[in-house]
């Protein structure tokens, strides 16, 4: 037990949690925006995967990390628009369009990297600049706190900042109010003169940007190259985190943190000779437990209404 506590009660462990939760936070924030705008977010996994491929590719082509991140964001927006066009204008079923997007992403990414890098597994043979980690001046010199909070990737800090920005936008600006009203009841919004399509596409652009950043973090921050299927379910975990956080940016932040803890714990416990099979189920058990609690609370709240 003491070995267990020694493993998790370290600044290093908390640092790891923040790194692990970053892509989940981006995914969850993206899902939150989709959901607030009344659009299904099941395509998030595929959008993130394609963005995690275009990031290093554009970074390689422009030889600049900013070029790569912009490439990933633009890809994210275009894919979200594509999803929006197919579901909003052509009236395709959202779930089916999302699944199609996810399936397409697996094959398309491999096709493109083979064309660009001559390899089918990864872009490791391309020299693509990455987004750096940064030490925060004053903070890094504070004992423990500095070890935990300083030295993360720029995109990690961006994810945290964006949590606050989105909270402000959605609850304190007319734009946020209109997106939410379009999402909750498009006809009612239209009746008071809101251009529904315009706000749907603004929603898609914001959600696509966040998914693009999440993808870029995976291949330009977490590791320095794209490899096939590298999102590995983080988009779907993001959907669960969004549900668990009840659509509230800060709730989502905490939920992402919980998944970060579960994942980091799974990594550490293996080294303490806990049975591997059991440990690998931890993140999923937490998902099920958390969603059960969430659903229970929601059903109780709905009964009250």
């Amino acid at each position: 037990m003491s070995a267990f506590l020694q493993t998790i009660l370290t600044p290093d462990f908390v640092f790891t949690v923040i790194r692990v939760m970053t892509p989940i936070l981006f995914a969850a924030l993206s899902c939150m925006v989709f959901t607030k705008g009344g659009i299904d977010s099941i395509g998030i996994e595929g959008i993130m995967l394609i963005c995690s491929m275009t990031g290093p590719v554009f970074s390689y082509l422009t030889q600049s990390a900013i070029g790569g991140v912009i490439g990933a964001i633009v890809t994210g927006i275009l894919l979200a628009f594509l999803f929006g066009y197919v579901t909003l204008q052509l009236k395709a079923v959202e779930i089916l369009a999302g699944i199609a997007l996810n399936t397409m992403a697996s094959g398309l990414t491999i096709f493109v990297i083979y064309y660009v890098a001559g390899e089918k597994g990864s872009t490791q043979s391309l020299f693509s600049p990455v987004v750096p980690n940064i030490e925060i001046p004053v903070l890094s010199s504070i004992p423990i706190l500095g070890d935990i909070l300083s030295g993360h990737n720029i995109l990690t800090y961006l994810a945290i900042i964006l949590t606050f920005v989105l909270a402000y936008v959605f609850y304190s600006t007319p734009l946020g109010l209109r997106i939410r009203s379009v999402g909750e009841n498009a006809q009612a919004a239209a009746s008071v003169g809101i251009n529904v399509m315009k706000y749907k596409y603004i929603t898609l652009a914001i959600a696509g940007t966040l998914a693009g950043l999440g993808g870029a973090f995976m291949s330009m921050g977490y590791v320095s190259f794209f490899s096939k299927e590298m999102i590995a379910g983080r988009g779907f975990i993001g959907m669960a985190a969004e549900a668990m956080g009840m659509g509230n940016p800060f709730g989502i932040f905490l939920a992402s943190g919980l998944f970060g803890i579960a994942d980091s714990l799974a990594v550490r416990l293996q080294l303490l000779n806990f049975p591997t099979q059991l440990i690998q189920t931890i993140p999923y058990m937490i998902t099920i437990i958390a969603i059960s609690i969430y659903s229970y609370k929601r059903s109780k709240r709905e009964k009250k209404l």
Binding site: T16, G118, Y222, F225, E229, D263, S264, V267, Q270
Partner: protein, 370 residues
């Protein structure tokens, strides 16, 4: 329009390269005086070339068969769509234009065995497969990855106890697997036995990523092990293992590659990654195919059986490249060479997780648990 020109150019280039291939092939057989011994072989790629792994290694072997043995060879890529595999193999067997049909047994083994039974006149060679049952016209090759892993274990144990730049005082080495799987356990058991042959008290940290693709999680696994004082890790986890390489570079540690000569993949791209990969454990698919072809020409290939090729037959090995030569101290190279001799000659037998029972493998893993 541009695209169309490109397409035409590419098609032209492909046609020319194919003609060139035919030209040299037929020239060998017509000019060669011992044409009656030469074979014709077709390599059916289940998937595509360019995987920097098995298929490319096999393709290199096919090229070598044409160059050194004078075989007439052809390579057909049939993609991943399994519905197209059966007709291709049936057509080739029906046609009977090639002496040997060669393919990857771990992908298409079952299918090929059923077709082989229908066409007893056609001979098939399946690599990376342990064949069961009675198939007199099939020859299968499997690879003893435990023997090459044994050498990797010797190297890792020597490195962690050396005064190399990134080696620390702890006698700890690491292993990261994609998932618990018999072949991965085979890698692990060989690795542990090699390490124990150097130092019986060595500790081996073992983690499983639970995925073959999750590079980021692979990196986390490696970081966690390196933080425990491990200074060299052997990841057997396909793409996910690339994350371990990344962790090694960032933390200033060592890594042993797998499946392909990974250091050479980074040659000229990232010197620091290439330098972190001391060597790689290889299955020499190409060598084994050349061996099979030359045995067939001598009439000694044991049809109807499978052979496990280890270090003695050059079926597996450690990558020896410029980075290995530059980064690994001479005494470690000598120790690895000595171990290779011992295993090849049969003086040392490496346990195989594929043939031993689970309890034996588990006991070996537990014996070095930290």
């Amino acid at each position: 329009m541009k695209k169309r020109i490109l397409t035409v150019l590419l098609a032209g280039a492909m046609a020319i390269s194919m003609l060139a291939g035919c030209g040299s092939g037929s020239a060998e057989t017509t000019d060669g005086t011992t044409a009656e011994g030469a074979l014709s072989a077709v390599f059916v790629v289940t998937g595509q070339l360019g995987d920097k792994s098995f298929n490319d290694s096999a393709n290199a072997g096919i090229t070598k068969m044409a160059e050194t043995l004078g075989c007439t060879t052809k390579v057909i890529e049939i993609g991943r769509d399994q519905t197209k595999w059966q007709p291709t193999f049936e057509d080739l067997a029906e046609e009977g234009a090639y002496d040997l049909i060669i393919t990857n047994g771990s992908n298409a083994g079952e299918l090929v065995l059923s077709i082989a039974d229908m066409y007893p006149e056609q001979k098939f060679v399946l690599f990376d497969m342990e064949m069961e049952g009675d198939h007199p016209n099939v020859y299968a090759i499997s690879y003893e990855q435990n023997e090459a892993s044994y050498l990797a274990g010797v190297l890792a144990a020597m490195v962690t106890e050396s005064d190399m730049e990134f080696a620390n005082a702890d006698k700890k080495i690491g292993f990261v697997g994609g998932d618990e799987h018999p072949i991965i356990t085979d890698f692990l058991v060989g690795y542990i036995e090699g390490a124990k042959s150097v130092d019986p008290d060595i500790k081996v940290y073992v983690s499983y990523i639970g995925s073959w693709d999750d590079t980021a999680k692979g990196k986390e696994m490696a970081i966690a092990q390196y933080n425990q004082g491990v200074d060299i890790i052997f990841p057997a986890a396909e793409q996910a293992g690339l994350g371990c390489v990344e962790a090694a570079v960032e933390m200033g540690k060592y890594i042993i590659g797998v499946d392909s000569d990974q250091a050479m993949l980074f040659d000229g791209v990232s010197e620091e990654k290439a330098n972190a990969i001391l060597t790689s454990v290889l299955k020499e698919v190409g060598n084994s195919l050349v061996r099979a072809a030359s045995m067939e020409m001598e009439g000694t290939l044991p049809w109807g059986t499978f052979e496990s090729l280890g270090l003695a037959e050059n079926g597996v090995g450690l990558a020896d490249n410029t980075y290995y030569q530059a980064n690994v101290p001479d005494d470690i190279k000598a120790a690895v060479e000595a171990a290779r001799e011992e295993v090849s000659s049969g003086a040392v037998t490496v346990t195989s997780a594929l043939h031993a029972d689970d309890a034996t493998s588990q006991a070996i893993i537990d014996s070095v648990a930290p």
